[in-house]
């Protein structure tokens, strides 16, 4: 029971700094779940990230996967609820006043200020997952190729995910 409570509290804390959504939280989830509590090892964390990538739905659901592996169904419910509840309540209370503070100098400043931090977080997430998976030269080649193709062409990301899966199935990575 105390495990589920720990999970819940840690993910409530995470939800409060989730600027940029669950994707921006990957580095911190890794730090808390793998390094601090040793709930999961590097390999499992990488696998869960991959499963979440390949599944439909909002990308916040990676937290349900982590919760499941750490604490079964109660764990999955705890992490998902913890991630969604605090901000849902806050937005419920604030939405009617949004027109009042939207566009004010401090609001614009926070929006502008948070953007470069989110860039750094997402870059860190990709780096840490690549390191956790201890990619070899070929896998890094795939990372680079996917990045370039995604930036240069309109190809749907799902095709790139499928290509990665096939290469992995073939045992090349």
């Amino acid at each position: 029971m105390s495990l589920v409570i720990d999970l819940f509290l840690e993910f409530v804390l995470l939800s409060l700094v989730a600027f940029g959504g669950a994707t921006a939280l990957l580095p911190e989830m890794h730090r808390v779940v793998v390094e601090q509590y040793h709930w999961l090892d590097d390999q499992t964390f990488t696998h869960l990230y991959a499963i979440a990538q390949a599944a439909p739905g909002p990308n916040v659901l990676v937290v349900a996967l982590i919760g499941w592996e750490v604490g079964g169904l109660p764990g999955a419910l705890a992490t998902t609820l913890a991630m969604c509840l605090p901000m849902s309540i806050l937005i419920y209370l604030l939405i009617d006043r949004w027109e009042g503070f939207s566009g004010q100098r401090w609001q614009k400043a926070i929006s502008l200020g948070v953007a470069p931090l989110a860039v750094g977080l997402i870059f860190s997430g990709a780096t840490l997952i690549s390191l956790a998976a201890s990619f070899g030269l070929v896998a890094w080649g795939v990372v680079l190729a996917v990045m370039v193709i995604n930036l240069r062409s309109g190809l749907h990301p799902l095709w790139l995910i499928a290509a990665g899966a096939l290469l992995g199935l073939g045992g090349w990575l």
Binding site: V17, G113, G120, F123, L169, L173
Partner: protein, 185 residues
């Protein structure tokens, strides 16, 4: 004047089903699908309303689409709607993800599955780097603000400092600079 179809007030069931369809439709983010459902298909919001309200959802931390479902649910059915809409959005994908987790628990140790997941992770990381690149590219005054991205990478990926502290410090410095710049114009 343009004639717009009169929006039908969705009841709880309609909210649940509408957001279920959004939750189940997207891979790697469902925001575009949310917009299509709300604005184009059902007319629950105008395009302007969508943009304004999404503003707060993106301004606050947390999953944007979940925040958005709370806003729409509240608008049409109060507290009950604000609970039912996000539930609809998350219930289906939640079950799918748990099903995948159970499959993983059984077959995850097979070399074939591990290889496949490695491949997906590599592609996923490529997409993340691309996303970071695109977001970095859309920042104005790059010379002033990209150092904060570098600071974040250094603090988070290299030093492994806890993110809440890094975000507070980063937000005070980066937001402070933005606040000062906005005042000069």
């Amino acid at each position: 004047m343009e004639t717009t179809p009169k929006p039908v007030e969705p009841d709880l069931m309609a909210l649940f089903l509408g957001f279920s369809s959004v939750g189940l439709s997207g891979f790697g983010g469902v925001l575009p699908f949310a917009r299509r459902m709300l604005v184009e298909e059902r007319g629950w919001m105008t395009a302007e309303e969508f943009n304004t309200q999404l503003g707060l959802c993106q301004f606050l931390p947390g999953p944007n689409v979940v925040n958005l479902s709370v806003v729409v649910g509240k608008r049409y059915q109060g507290v009950a709607g604000a609970i039912v809409a996000p539930l609809g959005m998350l219930a289906g994908p939640f079950l799918i993800v748990l099903l995948l987790a159970m499959l993983y628990d059984h077959f995850g140790s097979l070399p074939l599955v591990q290889g496949m997941l490695r491949g997906v992770a590599a592609a996923g990381c490529g997409l993340l780097f691309a996303m970071a690149w695109r977001m970095g590219n859309s920042i104005k005054s790059k010379r002033l603000f990209l150092p904060f991205s570098a600071f974040t990478v250094l603090a988070i990926a290299w030093m492994r400092w806890p993110m809440p502290y890094v975000m507070v410090v980063g937000l005070v410095l980066s937001g402070g600079l933005a606040y000062w710049m906005l005042g000069r114009k």
